[in-house]
């Protein structure tokens, strides 16, 4: 079954300038599709169009079908019903999705009560469960914290918890690790990978980073200047790209990677670090796989 079907999607400005032209792709249920592109490729606008969140002045045409529901031209009521339980999103900058004036627990309470009808103790339990599910240490304390009181990696975990709160069928992740340190990136990718697998969700991962997309997705769509350039199985596109532009992207990424030693040559058992400041934390010892720090030891930290 196809969870999401996008056909001939175009996004235009009021003066009819096309920012996305005739983009089509299918995301079958439980599958993972990567959209790769550089700045101005239209990859983020495509995601916003699917979410019905295009900035004012931009108009989508074509078809975006979620199951049997057409989203292009759909009413606000239809879109509100779809967002959260049908499609949820995580963006590059977690702060755009999070309210600085509201405790983290309160922010999670809204979708959980609105979409799942939870109240009282059941709601409180669901909040703690949602935070624990994204491997946040000491979820009770995180729930009482404000977003400025937790680190960048933890903020993205909170944003993911928020996106997962209503058990969406499709998760859209738009550059979810671009603003994060590289050691934190590995953990967040791990978390997304596990969450998508466990819940049987479909994933639409948007990124400029070929290596990130290659680790996370089975299918790949290359966008440039708002147009689809090439589409196919991720591995095939990255090993035998057909379009000249895909080749340029792949060759560039490979030429930089060539400066690094082979993965097989690296010493094993690196220490996962959610934050450099916690390098000495026992919860981050090599015995713990990434994203599964002992939830009982880590206090909420203040970013200095």
């Amino acid at each position: 079954m196809t969870a999401l079907s996008v056909q001939n999607l175009s996004v235009q400005t009021e003066d009819h300038r096309a920012l996305v032209s005739d983009v089509s792709f299918e995301l079958p249920a439980g599958q993972r599709l990567g959209i790769i592109g550089e700045s101005g490729s239209g990859k983020s606008l495509t995601a916003l169009a699917v979410l019905g969140l295009l900035p004012s002045g931009l108009r989508a045409s074509g078809s975006i079908r979620l199951g049997n529901t057409e989203l292009v031209g759909a009413s606000a009521r239809t879109l509100n019903g779809v967002r959260g339980s049908g499609i949820a999103a995580v963006f590059q900058e977690p702060l755009t999705a999070l309210d600085p004036l509201m405790r983290i627990g309160e922010q999670l309470a809204w979708p959980l009560s609105h979409h799942r009808g939870l109240r009282g103790d059941a709601l409180q339990r669901a909040i703690i469960e949602a935070l624990a599910a994204v491997a946040l240490p000491n979820p009770e304390k995180i729930a009482r914290s404000y977003i400025h009181e937790v680190s960048g990696g933890q903020r993205q975990r909170v944003a993911i918890a928020l996106a997962l709160a209503c058990n969406p069928d499709i998760l859209i992740a738009d550059e979810p690790t671009t603003a994060l340190d590289i050691s934190v990136q590995a953990e967040i990718l791990d978390l997304l990978d596990g969450a998508v697998r466990e819940r049987g969700m479909s994933l639409l991962l948007i990124s400029h980073d070929l290596a990130v997309v290659s680790q996370m997705t089975e299918q790949l769509l290359v966008l440039r200047g708002g147009e689809g350039i090439e589409q196919g199985p991720t591995r095939q596109l990255l090993t035998t790209p057909e379009a000249e532009y895909t080749r340029l992207l792949v060759n560039t990424a490979r030429s930089l990677e060539a400066y690094l030693p082979e993965v097989s040559a690296l010493p094993k058992a690196p220490v996962p670090l959610d934050d450099p400041a916690r390098a000495d934390d026992p919860a981050q010892s090599p015995g713990n796989p990434p994203g599964h720090a002992n939830p009982n030891t880590n206090p909420v930290e203040n970013q200095a």
């Binding site: 340190d181 050691s183 990718l189 290596a211 560039t252 030693p261 220490v271």
Partner: protein, 266 residues
Amino acid sequence: MNEYLLAADNVDFRYPGRDTNTLHGITLALRRGERVGLVGESGAGKSTILRLLLGLDAPTGGAVRFQGQPLNLRDRAGLRGFRSAVQNVFQDPYGALDPRATVGRTITEPLRSLGIERDREALKSRVADLLAAVDLPADAADRYPHAFSGGQRQRIAIARALAPNPRLILADEPVSALDMSVRTQIIELLRGLGRADASVPDENQTGLLLVSHDLSIVAALCDRVAVLQDGRIVEEGHTSEVLANPQHPYTRTLLAAIPRLPRAEG
């Protein structure tokens, strides 16, 4: 003549009002013409080290030495020599250029402000040379930054840094804001700086201190690398050796965390 052009000598730094040091005993010395990478994640103190090496702040312990002498922020005449010898390039090519100044004026700013060159014709021919050095068309001189893409703006910023013929360029994440396809071009440009003539001895070439979170870019550009964690250098050595045989667990973590492409078939 001291073999070190610029050195942090057991430098501590604490921001006013903080109760802990941001930097602890940093020793990092750059020989003439050498290319050194400083790698670390956010909050490690990379930018603070850059500020100290640029003479924008004074260390709270230890010293920053330029040609063997402690950098004296009050010695204005001495600082002029320092500023023409040590130039910098920043991450954001949009924020780094004055939108109201033509590219020609932007590029010659260090020459005028340091009193190196005031003659209009001489400045004009210097602009032409510098634009050619960074592969921009000569007519770019009369245009404004908004007319240029991110990669082109970074070329303009590099041309400005090259203007006073510096001995060393301090570059803070110079390619991380750029698209992949432009990134390699800027890396190639930085690789080629001052290296056009292989017969020129190394110490007469422009050195580079590259600050980045990205080990592959450091590997592409630098002879030596220092790994910074929590305000301390935890590992330092020849780039090829550190990458092939990292000693510190943090260096290993950084290396292992870099996502890789699937191997090409065949």
